[in-house]
Amino acid sequence: MNKFLLSFLTVLFISTIISAQGFKVKTTGIQTFNFEDKNGRNQASFFSATPLEDITGTGNAVSGSVSFDVADFAKTLKGRISVKVSSINTGIDLRNHHLQSSNWLYADKYPEISFEIVSINDVKQTADNRLEFKAKGNFSMHGVTKEVVADVDATYLDENDQTRKRAPGDLLGVRSKFNINLSDYDVDNALIGNKVAEKIEISINIVGSNK
C-alpha cells in the first residue's frame, strides 16, 4: 500500500513539474507587470508591404498590464495591452493624418488599439528566465474585436543594478508578432487607392515593471 502511495505521489509530483511551466527566477508568487513607460520606449509597430513603398509605423503610447504566477505562467497569465492611435507615426505627417482620420483608424472615435490575452499554448522554456509561446487573444481595432494568435517571447529579469537603471522592480520583456487583415476590422484600404496592403504585420516590443 505504501509503495502504491509513493508511486502515486511521485507521478503526481513529476506531472505537476511538467505541466507547471513558468520562469525559474528568484521571485515567486503572483506578479503584476505594468507596461506604461513615461519615456515612450515601449512600442507597438506595424509593417505593410506595398507596390510603391514599404510602410512602417510605430506607436509609443503603450499602456496595460499582465499578471501571472511566476511558477505557473502558462495557466495563470492574463492581461491587456493597448496603444493610443494618436501616437502612431509613419514618418510622414500627411500619412499620419490620413491614418488617424475617419476614413482609416478613426482615432477620435476609437482612440485605442488593444490586445487582451485569452489563453496561451505551445509554451517552450528556452532559458530559466525565458519562455516562448503562442498567445490567443482578442485584438480590438477600429471598433471591431477579433481573435488572433500571436507568437510571443517573454524574458523575466530579477531586479538588479542594471534593471534599476530602467525601472524599479523585476522587469518583464515581451516581444510579439502577429498578422491581421485590414478588412477584418472594417478598415477600407481601397479608400486610399490600395496604397496599404490588406495584410499588416504587427510587432510589439515592451518592457514592464512589477513595482
Binding site: S45, T58, N89, G91, D93, D153, G173, R175
Partner: protein, 92 residues
C-alpha cells in the same frame, strides 16, 4: 527656335536632370520624408529592437516630379514669350 528659346530649353532640361540625380542620390524613395527609422538594440534585452524616428530629410520622387512640372510650366511660358514675334507675324 531662337537663342533665348534654346537657353530656356537647355536650362529646363538641366534642372530636370539634376532633380533626377538628386532623387537617385537620396536613395530613390517614392515619397519625401522628414524622418527616418533607426533601429536600436535594447541593452537589457538584446533580442529586442527599438525603432526610433530621427529627423532626416529624404528627397523623394514626388518632390522631383512637382519641381519638374513647375519647371516645364515656367519653361513653356518663357519659350512662348521668347518667340520671334516678327517671324510669327510673317508666318501668319
Amino acid at each position: 527656335m531662337n537663342i533665348k528659346q534654346k537657353r530656356t530649353l537647355i536650362i529646363a532640361a538641366i534642372i530636370i536632370v539634376a532633380l533626377l540625380i538628386i532623387w537617385i542620390a537620396f536613395g530613390g524613395h517614392i515619397f519625401t520624408r522628414t524622418q527616418v527609422l533607426v533601429e536600436k538594440k535594447d541593452e537589457l534585452f538584446p533580442d529586442m529592437v527599438q525603432k526610433e524616428w530621427v529627423n532626416k530629410f529624404i528627397w523623394g520622387l514626388d518632390l522631383s516630379l512637382v519641381i519638374s512640372v513647375i519647371t516645364i510650366f515656367i519653361g513653356s511660358i518663357l519659350f512662348y514669350l521668347f518667340r520671334d514675334k516678327k517671324r510669327s507675324a510673317e508666318l501668319s
